[in-house]
Amino acid sequence: MRKVLLATYLGSAAALAVGSASANDELIKMSQNPKDWVMPAGDYANTRYSKLNQINAQNVGKLQVAWTFSTGVLRGHEGGPLIIGNMMYVHTPFPNKVYAIDLSNENKIVWKYEPKQDPNVIPVMCCDTVNRGLAYGDGKIILHQADTNLVALDAKTGQVAWSATNGNPAKGETGTSAALVVKDKVLVGISGGEFGVQCHVTAYDLKTGKQAWRAFSEGPDDQIKVDPAKTTSLGKPVGADSSLKTWQGDQWKIGGGCTWGWMSYDPALNLVYYGSGNPSTWNPKQRPGDNKWSMTIFARDADTGMAKWVYQMTPHDEWDYDGVNEMILSDQQINGQARKLLTHFDRNGLAYTMDRENGELLVAEKYDPKVNWTSGVDMDKNSPTYGRPKVLDAASTDKAGEDHNVKGICPAALGTKDEQPAAYSPDTQLFYVPTNHVCMDYEPFKVSYTAGQPYVGATLSMYPPQGESHMGNFIAWDGKTGKIVWSNKEQFSVWSGALATAGGVVFYGTLEGYLKAVDAKSGKELYKFKTPSGIIGNVTTYENGGKQYVAVLSGVGGWAGIGLAAGLTDPTAGLGAVGGYAALSNYTALGGTLTVFSLPAAN
């Protein structure tokens, strides 16, 4: 009976799937229905691509606001809503409210959930109290709260079905990421890289919330779920103690490697993909070794958590280049051969294209020409440093040492891209990437560890690359060749997730608050509208009542809101130079709002 009701509730597409099928089959089917948006990135492959084409390059210029919704929360709004049948689920930053909105009934709030959380979790969240959104599976909406509680809400009523505690905020462990439902499990990461957390990905039973497996980023082989003989890195078994050997003493216990980015999944290979973040502390001198497996792309078995392959992008990080950004799965031809690919735009400024089946590295190229900490990755399979980036001395904060300020490193710790997810269009076979165009000075110094207290260990200042005043680009990238196809300048970092559609249009938001639509082939701007606040959310599309809608959360904040609110440090200040370092606060103010667009009725 419950299932019948649920099916009716979720609409016809879901009705076909619900029944004896597992949650996985249900979700795969639902994600193929372009009218819905059932998981954070729209699909398991993290493409953020929609087959909807009612809004296209010819008519997008006529787009107008259909309706708006205030979340009632002022902090930074990352992520985007889920849309399932006639229902939309909207989340907020701390206090992590969830609204269920009936799109077929005047966007009425059907239910609202607001957890009670200890506000002491607020200051242990490194960079604002963001939350990257909800997940859906088996009739439940999954919320990952700031205090790390993972809560399953009945999609129909908002009642708590189960709740699991994923970490301890008193130790600096917090929840910011969206979960991913895979088969009968909910997978979720954890934040706290600036607090010396030993981070992990954990799977919980979708029905009960019981923990199924947990895989740490660093530690002994059993804790990191690595088989020394079978888990490979660049085609070779990793061997015993692959992580422990790369840390001094038991520093791995406070080693970071956090997992707050987006996860993707290949149902055919049964592998989940995600990246791990920076090793703690930011002072590289204090943690000698490669610090494995921080800064690593993981491919893990979805059922057991065992790692099939790993690849560390930035061994012994010296710049806070977290490797958490999304892994986008695509099937393309390389040198005339059909390949199952994984493409990843790393904070370190390199875009990687890999074979997602075996972890072979195919392409590693800079996606911002200003990237200057490395001369590139060693692609010679016979070289002893195969797969390693060559670090240039001038940018090495480890070489310079503690209490030395290294100037002009590009990109800044924000990365050439942070969590803001890129999109991939199978029509153009191009990736659409929101980027930061910011450099930094970085000075490491000694810090001591106290549980639950910041464990940073470096002084930073950030500014645009020398001679330039724009701090962001929105680019189209060819992952097969590793080349920029077109690039649009943006005054501020582009901190919003992109959306590509079959209409030949790509959407993204800007920190000033614009929702922009550009031509997928040329990058030509076709439409822009200024929403009530700066956009750090991700653009979503759905269809309801035969009409296509585009939705985006605005609400400035996050890491972007820290540096840019005041304007970045002007390195020429005091010399009388007038630069283009205008503060974001001159353009926008706080406030969480969902803005939904559609074409005029007469169209």
Binding site: G76, E443, S448, P454, G561, I562, D570, G574
Partner: protein, 172 residues
């Protein structure tokens, strides 16, 4: 006039659930230098000393420590962020004692619109051992005696300072 203004400000702060605002730190002129390189004003509170672009050690050290542990919330150069106040302004309406109290014990500012929480740093040696450094740097920022840049010329770190720092940080 200044007193009236700050009295009004204090009332507003109390009404919004914050901590009452005390008198500002007063005349920042440095009158006395201690062995560790710290300058004091006429009331005996730590202050900055900047001569021809050369900053005292505490201003420099405060700049560094600020841009590690504080800027993550309070923005670069004490300028504030989308959710935390500009400390270069906050120090203008706080006494030295208030400043130490807030850094050590934290503070909560909860209104119907926002929940702002500052953690207690009293147990964190990376902050607690450098409170005077942070205060001196922010005081210089508040008075616009130092701008939005990294100090390039500085007085040397003294032996007394190094000794005190090592003891505080638990270094042998």
């Amino acid at each position: 006039m200044r007193k009236i203004c700050s009295a009004i400000a204090a009332i507003i702060f109390v009404a919004s659930g914050g901590i009452a605002v005390a008198e500002g730190p007063g005349d920042p002129t440095a009158v006395k230098k201690e062995d560790d390189g710290k300058w004091l004003d006429k009331d005996g509170n730590p202050t900055y000393k900047i001569t021809d672009g050369t900053v005292d050690w505490f201003t420099y050290s405060g700049y560094r420590r600020y841009h590690s542990d504080c800027h993550v919330c309070h923005g670069p150069d004490g300028m504030g962020s989308t959710y935390a106040p500009a400390l270069k302004d906050s120090v203008k309406s706080m006494s030295y004692g208030d400043f130490l109290g807030v850094v050590a014990s934290g503070r909560k500012n909860i209104s119907t619109a926002q929940e702002n929480v500052m953690p207690a740093f009293g147990d964190n040696p990376n902050v607690a051992c450098y409170m005077d450094d942070l205060y001196v740097y922010l005081r210089a920022r508040g008075d616009e005696a130092w701008g939005r840049q990294r100090p390039s010329k500085k007085e040397d770190k003294t032996e007394a300072y190094t000794k005190a720092e090592d003891a505080c940080m638990g270094k042998k």
